[in-house]
């Protein structure tokens, strides 16, 4: 029977992800590369191709992206975003230029066309704030002096994504430069509106959503987020950005409750999203792009090290801290895959998906390892001259 095999497949996928997650926890690494590998194994050309649960997985993947961005938005208040926007702009812009250029240049050199170049630029640009925040927490670095610089780079990147995703969506839809400008304007207006509402009339949203019942709160928040995301998609602003903005509009104790309620859902659907991306990547396509991915990964490490170095130096941090800041920014993960997912879904160059998968597989694993060894690296570089400078 069709439906029974569907349940069996679904259960097997989720249980498999749970086991992979356990491995990730055991070795304190990010589970993202493992989920991607699982997707590769289940997908077309993989060892265990799935047949019946595609529908659920594809809808689940969309919800996963929405929840990823929504919970990210929850982390920030509108005030924080505005302040960071002002103070971190120089570092944020150099981060953007340094890290997007290798991706853009590679796509152009490979003759993939300008749209794929914009997508690949986004893939190499954006650090995985999830992995970075977790690594810094695990290594006990939240108190360090370089940490505020690292975090403001992350916030700036997230804000940039809010402007970038609508542009990418429009370009992918083939609307050309004019359409891109219109999309950017639409995104800017929507974003300005939501920031205005959040800053000035935050209590209205809070009052609408607030409820003493966890059940009601969960349904209201989830419903509002998916609804706004859907409307944003209709307006070509990208569903992810809509969800991000809803997250920003919620703040205070309500944001705390919403985070607690929705984090488990986010974990489930985000895992489904990574699997979904892996499903659509044929493992046989990986080896041909492995060389390019490796080169991009090396460039990506170098450019993030430079970004972290500059950001931390501006805050008056010593060389060891600058190196730590750089290594903390190296991991790429969920957002690179979100960008690649959009690009692949719209049918850009078929090699973009495998390239993004390989790139993220390398950097999601190498990034945390580099971050862990930053202090010994710094000592090795500084030599016996000591750690103060």
């Amino acid at each position: 029977m069709h439906s029974t095999t569907q349940l069996i497949e679904l259960g097997a996928i989720i249980l498999g992800l749970g086991l992979l997650g356990a491995v990730a926890v055991r070795f304190s690494v990010s589970p993202i590369p493992l989920y991607l590998l699982a997707g590769l194994a289940f997908g077309s050309g993989g060892v265990l191709p799935l047949t019946t649960s595609e529908d659920f997985v594809s809808v689940g993947a969309e919800v996963g992206v929405i929840l990823l961005l929504f919970t990210l938005g929850l982390e920030y208040t509108a005030d924080e975003l505005v302040t960071t926007m002002r103070t971190a702009a120089p570092v944020g812009l150099s981060d953007l230029v340094l890290n997007a250029v290798p991706g853009v240049a590679t796509a152009l050199l490979l003759h993939w066309g300008p749209v794929a170049a914009v997508a690949l630029g986004g893939i190499t640009y954006v650090t995985s704030s999830g992995i970075t925040a977790k690594v810094m927490g695990d290594l006990g670095r939240l108190g360090n002096r370089e940490t505020p610089s690292v975090l403001s780079v992350l916030v700036f990147e997230d804000l940039t994504m809010a402007a970038y995703l609508p542009i990418l969506t429009t370009l992918l839809a083939g609307a050309g430069v004019l359409g891109g400008v219109v999309a950017l304007l639409a995104a800017a207006v929507t974003m300005g509106l939501i920031l205005f509402v959040a800053l000035r009339h935050g209590e209205v949203v809070q009052r609408f959503v607030a409820s003493p019942s966890r059940e009601v709160l969960l349904l209201k928040v989830l419903g509002l987020t998916v609804l706004v995301a859907g409307l944003a998609q209709q307006l070509q602003v990208s569903a992810a950005v809509g969800a991000f903005l809803v997250g920003i509009a919620l703040s205070g104790p309500l944001a705390h409750d919403a985070r607690q309620l929705l984090s488990p859902l986010r974990d489930l659907f985000a895992a489904v999203f990574f699997v979904f991306f892996g499903l659509h990547t044929d493992p046989a396509d990986l080896p041909p792009v492995a060389g390019v991915a490796a080169v991009l990964a090396v460039a990506g490490v170098a450019t993030k090290l430079a970004t972290g170095w500059v950001a931390a130096r501006r805050a008056g941090v010593g060389p060891a801290g600058r190196l730590r800041a750089g290594t903390a920014l190296v991991p790429r993960g969920e957002f690179s895959i979100v960008v690649a997912g959009l690009a692949v879904g719209a049918g850009t160059n078929p090699r973009l998906g495998p390239l993004a998968a390989a790139y993220v597989l390398i950097l999601a694993v190498a990034g945390p390892l580099l971050a862990r060894s930053a202090d010994s690296l710094a000592r090795a570089v500084a030599g016996p001259r000591g750690r103060r400078a």
Partner: protein, 160 residues
Amino acid sequence: MEIERTSLPGIGLQHVFTTARGRRVGIVSHHSGRRDLVVFDRDDPDTAATTIVLTSEEAGAVAELLGTARVVERLADLHRHVEGLVSRQVPITAGSPYDGRPLGDTRARTRTGASIVAVVRGGGVVASPRPDFVFEAGDIVLVVGTADGTAAVAALLATR
């Protein structure tokens, strides 16, 4: 003592200060209520040497320990410095005329010359309560003044 305050977007707030003996100590306050007590490396002021993660409950207990000790210390100091000064702990019992009324209403300093310096409530300490502080049955009021003055406050607050 100078305390630097830095916002950590997405995480919370960080407060850092340097002790008289030159150690840098920081407290990271997470939005979730978690607190990290951070002690920085002696040689490298950028690096956290030790990070102690406290749940909001533990952080509250630590704050109380530090705070309570401070009030008691200050009282002991007063005794040492001023001859004839007495501190007295006066309970507010149910039926006290000031149960449910603000501190200002007692006009304790005007009437007796003694001062109410702190109130212990439910294991916590309210140091230097303001005139609008409202007493509740079960509060322990710390009074400082002359022997006569403190006795007069005790009589004032006692059940009639």
